[in-house]
Amino acid sequence: MRQTVETNRNQTNGAHVLPFTSERVRMSSEEFQAIGEIGAMFYEQGNLDKAQTIFEGLIEIDPESGAAHSAFGALLTKLRDDENALFHLNKAVELNDAQIAPFVNRAEVYLRQQRFEAAVADLKRAIELDPTEKDAGANRARAMVLGIHQAIESQKEQQK
């Protein structure tokens, strides 16, 4: 007998396993991921309307998908829709706190809101998740840290 998604989640601590991503729309995790990657392609091309349609649809199919909330949160971060971005990025972190991207993007939103300590905490977490400096998202976090570091050093110089 096929296991339910809920049972699968309980057994895998939030990770998706076969056979279906959602009970409402019966698609495999692989198909769900492939649709998300088409959304990512539109996002990279700057076709944000289509990317948004796809990411919102995936969240409706599986409201407990950390990947879908992460992607939609990223898109909203790009659009500077900070309030809604935070909602989805918080959800992404809640569902899977091993994802780098939502920490990087939430830090960006926090910086815009001048919530510096919260931003640095998220940047730190993103960097810790990528110790080999290979992840482009974590490297974006490193660039932000470097920017803040330069600001601090410059202020110190000017106070001398």
């Binding site: 729309v25 349609t53 910086l111 920017g147 600001a151």
Partner: protein, 132 residues
């Protein structure tokens, strides 16, 4: 005074498409007040652990998507959906009133159809070239 700070900060941030953060970081705060001592310690500790600055050559220019943004092989992505049952999915989205999901499936289906037409055109063009 702030222009100097802004220029330095901007040099890193503009390189990675984050130049809009430059005035926020450089003008928005006096980091040298006691309130930020812990945060400054964290920043210095993080920077000291950077192996070098070569990571700046591999920085996401947009807010990163996460898992969905890892694969860049469109043919591979498309091939995974070629045998998917869109009709069945659409029936399920209608049955469950999942309008956003339905809209997403429309966008994906249109994309796959267009890709398929392009692929066919490529094959036909190659065939015609060989036949000629």
């Amino acid at each position: 005074m702030f222009g100097f700070v802004g220029k330095l900060v901007g040099s890193v941030l503009s390189k990675v498409g984050l130049d809009f953060l430059s005035p926020i970081i450089s003008l928005g705060i006096n980091f040298l007040t006691g309130n930020y001592a812990g945060m400054i310690g964290d920043i210095q500790s993080l920077v000291s652990k950077f192996s070098n600055f070569s990571f700046l050559d591999k920085v996401s220019k947009n807010p990163p998507l996460g898992t969905f943004g890892q694969n860049r092989n469109n043919d591979f992505i498309t091939s995974r959906l070629l045998n998917s049952d869109f009709a069945s999915w659409r029936g399920q989205t209608r049955e469950n009133d999942l309008n956003r999901a339905n809209a997403a499936l429309d966008v994906v289906y249109d994309y796959l159809s267009a890709s398929s037409r392009i692929q066919s055109a490529r094959v036909n063009a190659q065939f015609n070239y060989i036949a000629a």
